[in-house]
């Protein structure tokens, strides 16, 4: 499998995730889209590591897994607090920092 294909897949995943973050208003879906973006980055690391036969890509992916787990834990907690405070999960409802 050539490197380009895997990288294209990773890029496509990243773009999908970004599009989800930008287009979705539901905080759940925004979190999920961020997961997709993180996994796209992980995929790029792993394929690059396999391409050059080094361990670095897999090490980075394990880091990303840990960060993603932490991110989901904190993100869901925030989402819960937000829902309790606002009775909604609409990200655009949180615009109190409007200038």
């Amino acid at each position: 499998m050539p490197l380009e294909h895997a990288l294209l897949l990773a890029g496509a995943l990243f773009a999908i995730g970004l599009a989800g973050v930008l287009a979705r208003r539901n905080l759940f879906f925004i979190l999920m889209s961020i997961e997709i973006m993180l996994n796209a980055a992980g995929l790029a690391f792993v394929t690059a590591g396999a391409h050059w036969g080094g361990p670095d890509g897999q090490v980075m992916f394990i880091f990303i897994l840990a960060v993603a787990a932490a991110e989901v834990a904190v993100g869901l907690a925030l989402l819960l607090r937000f829902y309790h405070a606002r009775r909604t999960v609409d990200a655009d409802a949180a615009d109190r920092l409007r200038g």
């Binding site: 973050v21 930008l22 990200a91 615009d95 200038g99």
Partner: protein, 634 residues
Amino acid sequence: MQALLALIPALPLAGFLILALFGGRLGRRGVSIVGVGSVGASALVAILAAIGFLTAPPAGGALTQRLWTWWSVGGLAPGIAFTLDPLAIVFTLVVTVVGFLIHLYSIEYLAGDDGYARFFACMNLFVSSMLILVLADNLPLLYLGWEGVGLCSYLLIGFWYRDPANGRAARKAFLVTRIGDTAMAIGLFLLFRHLGTLQIAEVMNRATTAWPVGAPLATAAALLLLGGAIGKSAQLPLQTWLPDAMAGPTPVSALIHAATMVTAGVYLIARTHALFLLSPAAMTVVALVGALTLLLAGCSALVQTDIKRVLAYSTISQIGYMFLALGVGAWSAAILHFMTHAFFKALLFLGAGAVILALHHEQEIARMGGLRRSLPVVFWTFLIGGASLAALPLVTSGFYSKDAILWAAWNAPHGGRVLWAAGLAGALLTALYTFRLIFRVFFGEERTTVTHRPTWVIALPLVVLAGLATIGGFVETPHTLGGVTLFSRFLQGTFGVAGGHAEAVGAGHGAELALQILAAIVSLGGVWLAYRLFLRRPETLARWRGARAGAALRRFWLGGWGFDELYDRVLVRPFEWTARVSRGDFIDSFYTGLARTLGGLHGALAATQNGRVRFYVAGIAIGAILAIAIMVFT
């Protein structure tokens, strides 16, 4: 005794500081105690100082207390220093005692007002500034008090600041007196430039030795100081602020008219009399200004419909008498009239305030009447004050002071007869407008019901002032009536032997007696005329008013001889026009353009701060894409 001198202005100043800083936390009772107590204590100290001065006259005729040097620049080192001489004693006593009575009265007058602490703070500062003015031993310190008085008048005239008209009146008072103040400041520069000092005693000494009588410089300096005096004392042509100053609460008017502010001009001229003596021309101007003002203001007082405006014009007119006396060199007569005027004018204003309060802030004479039954104390004291203002013979203080002025005017070397005639005509007008007021307000049928009866807090100052207004004149009586010269002899400490009108012997006893009888007839005639016109035969008056000339004259006098209109056309409107025209010039457009550009940029940038997370994410993504694109394509 000497060490107490600084306490006289310092006590009200301390009262002001306490009220300004902690007035909100003291509560009404605390504010009253501090506000009234500070002036009362100052009055006590002043009385003590005066007794000390009289029992043990100091060497040199004056007590001086120097606290510290204010500044020292270029040979000018004025001190914060106070001097007590006979002239200062008279002013200090009047300011503190009358000021104390007015403060006491204000407790009830302002009882329901939100700005209670603010009111007493300003009043205390007012009294303190006036005391600094009269006790200052150098001209810069006097000028400090002078400006302090102007500031406080601004604050107090605009006390009820929610009504824009009051704010306008306050600004007018401040700006018009400022014109005079500027002249005075230039006068001080001139004195310092040519005499090298601003210590009052030293200035007078050097002026008399350096300049001969009639020296142009002396005339210029005297006229510039006169400009300041005219502004503060509301004399022609800067008198327009005083009637509008009635926008303030009535105790403020009483304080401005009786004790502080308007008498400052009289004090200034009396204090620098040596300089004025060097310039016969300036003296003539002073006398003419006084004579003209007293006639013009007397006519205006005759037709006013607002009880306070009548009294305001009457003050202008009475200060005109003082200027007339100063102009003919009758210093002690002017100061005597200042003193008696302070008593009876404070009394009249406080009485008018009691009437206004009783009728629930009604000031139109037309809606008053018959109050002598429902407000007996106010009526009797007001009658005493009015009688004194109208100079009813023998029993009132105003008679003695006005008689002294008229006699001095008669004996003036130049144009004395004309000045005397003006004074006599003014006396007729005074009696006429005073008793018009009394007949309209206290006689006839009742038109508005009384809603508030004064308590002792209001009655006490009225009774005390009525007593002072009656006996105040007996300190100085003419030859023909006992020849008491306590007052003028006391003031010789300031004015020298030429000060008393007792020395102005010219026409002899017979003429003096004849003039006195004439003056008495004129003032009684004024009362009788007022009785005929305003009480017995109002139809005569109605006929005059109905006539075209009468109505026009009435309108002209009501507006104060059209001075407001004149200044509006000559000064205010051209100024506003210039301001309007130059509004769009290139300097202004540059700065407004700059401001508008910055405002637009600010708006554009602020629009990006919309608080939406997704918008910020898009920003980050676009930024990242741009950064990568730059890295890839360069």
